[in-house]
Amino acid sequence: MFTGFHSMLRAAGLPVGVGEWLAVVAALDRGAIGPSMPEFYHVARALVCRDEGDFDRFDQAFAAYFQGASLPEPLHQLIHSWLDNPLEKPPLTPEELAALESYDLETLRKLYEERLKQQTERHDGGSHWIGTGGTSPFGQGGQHPTGMRVGEGASGRGQAVSMAKARKFRNYRSDVVLDTRQIAVAIRKLRRLEHKSRRLELDIDATIAATSRNGGEIEIIERPERRNQARVVLILDAGGSMDPHVRTVEAFFSAMKQGGGLREVETYYFHNCVYGFVYTDMAMLHKKPLPDVLRSVPPHTYLMMVGDGWMAPRELFSPYGAIEYGMADEVPGIERIATIAAAFERRAWLNPIPDNYWGESTIGAIGELVPMFPLTVQGMIDAVATLMGQGDRRPRPVRKPLWSRGENPFDVP
């Protein structure tokens, strides 16, 4: 029954498994759905969607199946993913580069969405708007739309479809699914459980033992609850080159703060590279000298650094290498990082840049001091395993960077 609708839902990107679909069929089978389209719409949506973020996709698939509207989604998604991961996509043409430079990401995205809308509405082939020549993945979708009819209104069918076509839930959907939960689950493994807490719990075994020794006279034994004692010092790069990764970092950050169940997360920020001080706020107004930060760290604290580690070599290796006014530091950045690394027995660096770009760059040099992992869910799992000193999940060996081979070829006179 309606298997075409099922495949349409899947095509719209909803993870509808057999279980969900059978539930829809069972609901129809038992007469739990009345003979009206609006009711079918609501019930199917309740069974298929797991989050209000899914409603928009559902609406599109519904309109597509019951009224022959087109599914614009793949096109839409591609553009979004392209804008979100500028590094992994094919090189941009000069025109596109020019566009990127004159608009910020948000404006650019809006512009694309606008044009995308125009294309669908006008039945244009429209591949020239987005993408170049035949190579761009965005060209395909333009031929996709088969036309969209306007809802008829009066009949029940029309109502449900126009409901779906209104796409009220557009604002709830997030095209890039940032799985804070998965990250939080990974961080969960970072723990030092100790019986240290102000809250006391009854120690049954000890109580029974004490009571028996006491000749049956009850003696209550309490002990502090077991709590996660793990502390983390988190040092984040908030510099300009991190802007494309801001969503990933946000997801990571909120998972660390809320979901991780850590005893304490102390956060500092830096710009591009760490020099003589770090900032205690994201707006980078309040400085804290690096030695002060390191002095106050309790033993067994984990260090997590987040940054792209990507900069001009002199910013890392030269004294007074900072490009920004007011940051000048006689000690090269790499030595500052080495100082931080030495202060923490357990440390990891998470990098939003995919690891095939690391190689012999400033990233490689930093990776020698602080084990580096990609800022992905798997990267998090590996990083936590390394922090906990478990198993063989050593980070991918980073080739020895040039600077450590006795000479510094990047040294700028």
């Binding site: 759905i33 609501h42 989050d51 009850i218």
Partner: protein, 293 residues
């Protein structure tokens, strides 16, 4: 037909359609969703802005179907086990020393939790509505720990070996404020509903239910003002239905002239709880906001 996991076998009495109650006004989407969750015997997961009646829904279902309701309030320290049963070791220890009860009978020290009680009553043929309130408050793994029990509708008390089986599925309503994401495996087994903020027409009906003898002029003036406030940009916490109802009560008690409502927002503290929001309202001339639209 072989049923997928989490779908109850068909029972004719489950086909009852829920139509809201005189005091709980539901839109068609909610009515259909609740009815289908009951028919399939799946938990109903309800999300939505705070104050849109997520928690009240469970009571309304119980009332509408003439069933008892059990509530399980979830806190950050709640464990899945707490919902099934508690083994009161302290009482047993105490009885071993002072009591006259037979301490060899462990069963008397087992106290069923809300989920356990719902199962037991369902096992005796009594259907209940179980509200699991604010599931997102609990630990990350909490929903996963419940999966097996909600699927199989049975559990075993380890201390006594007794098994509690719910032959009739209790109606489970779960609310979430989306503070944490819920695991996929859990979501897959639920019927999901997002309570949207009610339309003006529905809002009027809801207000009428709570204030049946309210003056028409006052109601429409207050609603106009309320909707304007809700559309203000940059509000940190937009006022919701429950706040509107409280506000109306305040307005009626003060006996304010509906005409005056156009210019001022009396008792703004009932609607806006954040200081920044109150300041935002003070900066805005609401009568102009209306004209521009």
């Amino acid at each position: 037909m072989t049923l997928p996991p989490g779908i109850a076998p068909w029972a004719p009495d489950t086909l009852a359609r829920w139509n809201g109650t005189p005091t709980y006004i539901a839109d068609e989407a909610l009515k259909s969703t609740v009815s289908v969750a009951i028919a399939l015997g799946r938990p109903l997961l309800v999300k939505g802005e705070p104050g849109t009646g997520k928690t009240l829904l469970a009571r309304a279902i119980a009332e509408g179907m003439g069933l008892d309701m059990l509530t399980w309030h979830i806190k950050s320290t709640t464990r899945a086990q707490d919902g099934l049963y508690l083994y009161d070791t302290v009482a047993r220890l105490n009885d071993a020393r002072f009591g006259d009860r037979d301490v060899r009978d462990i069963a008397q020290y087992i106290k069923l939790g809300p989920l356990g009680e719902a199962f037991e009553r369902a096992g005796k043929g009594e259907r209940v509505v179980l509200l699991i309130d604010e599931i997102d408050k609990a630990d990350l793994e909490f929903p996963n720990d419940l999966l097996h029990e909600l699927d199989a509708m049975r559990f075993r008390i380890a201390e006594t070996g007794r098994e509690i089986v719910a032959h009739l599925r209790p109606i489970v309503v779960i609310t979430s404020n989306a503070e944490k994401e819920l695991p996929d495996a859990f979501l897959r087994r639920c019927v999901f509903h997002y309570i949207e903020f009610p339309s003006e027409e529905l809002l009027t009906r809801i207000c009428r239910v709570h204030h049946p003898d309210i003056d028409d002029k006052l109601l429409s003036a207050a609603l106009r003002q309320f909707i304007k406030i809700r559309t203000l940009a940059e509000l940190r916490k937009r006022p919701s239905t429950s706040e509107l109802i409280d506000w109306l009560a305040g307005l009626r008690l003060s006996g304010i002239d509906p005409e005056k409502l156009e210019q001022t927002v009396p008792f703004a503290g009932v609607l806006l709880k954040q200081e920044k929001d109150t300041q935002r309202l003070a900066r805005t001339d609401l009568s102009k906001l209306g004209q521009r639209r």
